[in-house]
Symmetry: C2
């Protein structure tokens, strides 16, 4: 979730459940001339929106359509940076993305023989999970149902306490080993002693880097090797904590142990010569797009108190955040946009959505964890992330 | 309905039903700094959106909010031309209008004491009725229910046969007097004989003018005097037809009778010195705005066959229509936009909407005339228009 963009690519799937494994990602690649702005006529440009199409096992007489709502990064090679189109960056919003999908499905239904009356089920994980659930809410005449995995639709201003995320990250490490968690807490409190950093700015970069690393590890703590945010082994938190079994805070050995630990995150492939703490490994995922979205519509407040979590106390400061956004993108965030557009937790008028969450995933704190009606269903896994977009 | 624009003005009402009459339109006028583009960050301008506010009889402890969705023309003086803001014309779409309302209601609820948890009922007629129903569909977390009067949400491409509208207009005149209807049919067939018109273009203007006059008369055929599209007496169709009781098609007297008839429409106030057939009387209503909308999103096909209606046979020609729009506004229409955005008749996932229609109103042909679910209710009046926006 850390880095996402208006999905320029969409996986479009026709299949029956039993054939998923045998398909092995065979698909055709098409392009649809998509409107840049769906809600106005000032900019009438179009762009070629790529989508992947698979009808191998589809019942061509109105069989259901499964529509994957995309996510951060390129769909065919998850960690490929697709580039951020600055010409149209102002149109990079969730509302435009949903309208992309609506137009595309309309196009498919009117051009693919046998698809005209097909039911449409949409799905996605993380940002794609939010899009899936919002797609059903806003376009129920096009989408019959949605499966929204690890979709933090409540991670916005005024919906979820900003400290929850850090608490789950902390718990994930503590559950692995209390010593590990204490080691990280010690570093967060005492890192200012570390000599090699030249100035305060370096220190703040490193702190931010590590904060992201811990969060990303908790988010991608799958029981199998994966390359979601970075190439990682199975159970990466366990692997990190193996290096921090008996931290001795009075010895510099401890700092080396930590370095070995976080190397699991940034250098599991052993190809990095050194750690560039100014660059988050997950920048692989086209972070400029998500960074822009986080600075405009997708404002998600995070804060840490150092007591209920192991991070350095950092309050949520919207003014500072806005100024940072303005200096970077020359736009001011609109933090109320998701609530006004989608309703936050006031979604009882919607229907046919399954929200799945892995409770170890820190993003689950912004997820829908309880059934809201008999067709707005929450499925919680006590274990790890449930996002199909990231598995 | 003929001429409308993105409502720049909104009547915002708090009241209890019993107090409506006693209020006599007392309200305060406020302005809200509204986003020009709600769905992107390329244009971050704001404009002062006027709204009228009335809380005289409101229960200030969470009483319901009644929200009027606006319509064509200025709200405080219905027939005043509010001017068409060409700077922002590209943002004149129904989606932006709904987002205006959502932001405005959010603003009201967070600033007016006691309104935070108020239920919100929206209502409107004609275009405002469409907006009311779509507002509930798209923002059910903000709108608890909608009353959509004379709202032709099915008057779009592929939803309703293009000839229906003309058939109801014809029926309205025939019901009044068969001779009247035949007189109009004769003119529509034979008007080319009329000498005073200088050239073909003049003739086509006049024909279009008369087509609009008949439609507007049918739409505004109220049993009481009103100034919706033009200052009109009660039962204007009856008054028009009084002049055409015994048409003699072989006499030029007939043309004079017709002139007297249509004078009911364009000159009931006796202030016009002559008939300017190049200008529709309903241009009072800010027609540039609606003309732009009809050329972009609100594409409503009309056609006439001269058999089931009394008009000159005119097929619906989308290519010609698009070319006309492009030459006038330099935009191409997007005729599928209403269906993709709002679903046409596929709105069974929505709830809490009452659609009311007067069956003599030709716009009812594009209305929802049957209950769709137990909370999508159709109320049909066999008589005249049911639009509160026009009464």
């Amino acid at each position: 979730m850390v880095h996402m963009m208006r999905p320029l690519t969409v996986l479009f799937l026709f299949f029956t459940t039993s054939s998923v494994i045998s398909l092995k990602y065979r698909y055709k690649t098409y392009y649809y001339k998509q409107q840049v702005d769906h809600f106005g006529f000032t900019n009438v440009d179009k762009f070629p929106q790529r989508y992947l199409f698979c009808d191998e096992s589809w019942n061509k007489n109105g069989g259901p359509i499964f529509f994957y709502c995309g996510n951060e990064g390129d769909i065919s090679l998850f960690a490929e940076n697709t580039g951020f189109n600055t010409t149209y960056s102002g149109y990079l919003t969730s509302e435009q993305a949903l309208a992309d999908y609506a137009d595309l499905i309309n196009h498919i239904k009117s051009t693919v023989k046998g698809a005209e009356k097909s039911p449409v089920i949409v799905f996605g994980g993380s940002y794609g999970g939010m899009l899936a659930s919002w797609f059903r809410m806003k376009y129920p005449h096009i989408v019959d149902g949605a499966i929204a995995a690890s979709a933090p639709i409540l991670q916005f201003v005024g919906m979820t306490p900003c400290g929850k995320f850090g608490q789950v990250v902390t718990k994930d490490f503590t559950d692995q080993s209390k010593a590990c968690s204490e080691g990280i807490k010690w570093i967060n409190e005492n890192w200012k002693l570390c000599r090699p950093l030249k100035n305060k700015e370096d220190l703040s970069y490193l702190k931010e880097f590590l904060t992201n690393v811990y969060g990303n590890l908790a988010m991608a703590d799958y029981p199998y090797p994966a390359s979601f945010l970075a190439p990682l082994p199975a159970n990466p938190i366990m692997r990190v904590c193996e290096f921090l079994k008996h931290p001795n805070f009075d010895s510099t050995d401890f700092l080396l142990e930590l370095f070995d630990g976080i190397s699991v995150y940034f250098n599991y492939t052993k190809t990095a010569r050194c750690l560039d703490h100014t660059k988050d490994a997950s920048s692989l995922l086209g972070d400029e797009g998500w960074d822009f979205q986080a600075c405009t519509e997708m404002v998600m407040p995070f804060c840490y108190d150092g007591k209920s979590d192991f991070f350095e106390p950092t309050p949520w400061n919207f003014t500072e955040y806005s100024e940072m956004c303005y200096s970077k993108w020359k736009v001011m965030p609109r933090p109320l946009m998701p609530e006004i557009q989608y309703g936050g937790s006031k979604i009882r008028a919607a229907s046919n959505i399954v929200f799945s969450n892995g409770l170890l995933d820190p993003w689950s704190t912004g997820g829908v964890l309880k059934n809201l009606t008999d067709s707005l269903i929450a499925v919680n896994y006590p274990g790890r992330s449930s996002s199909p977009g990231s598995s």
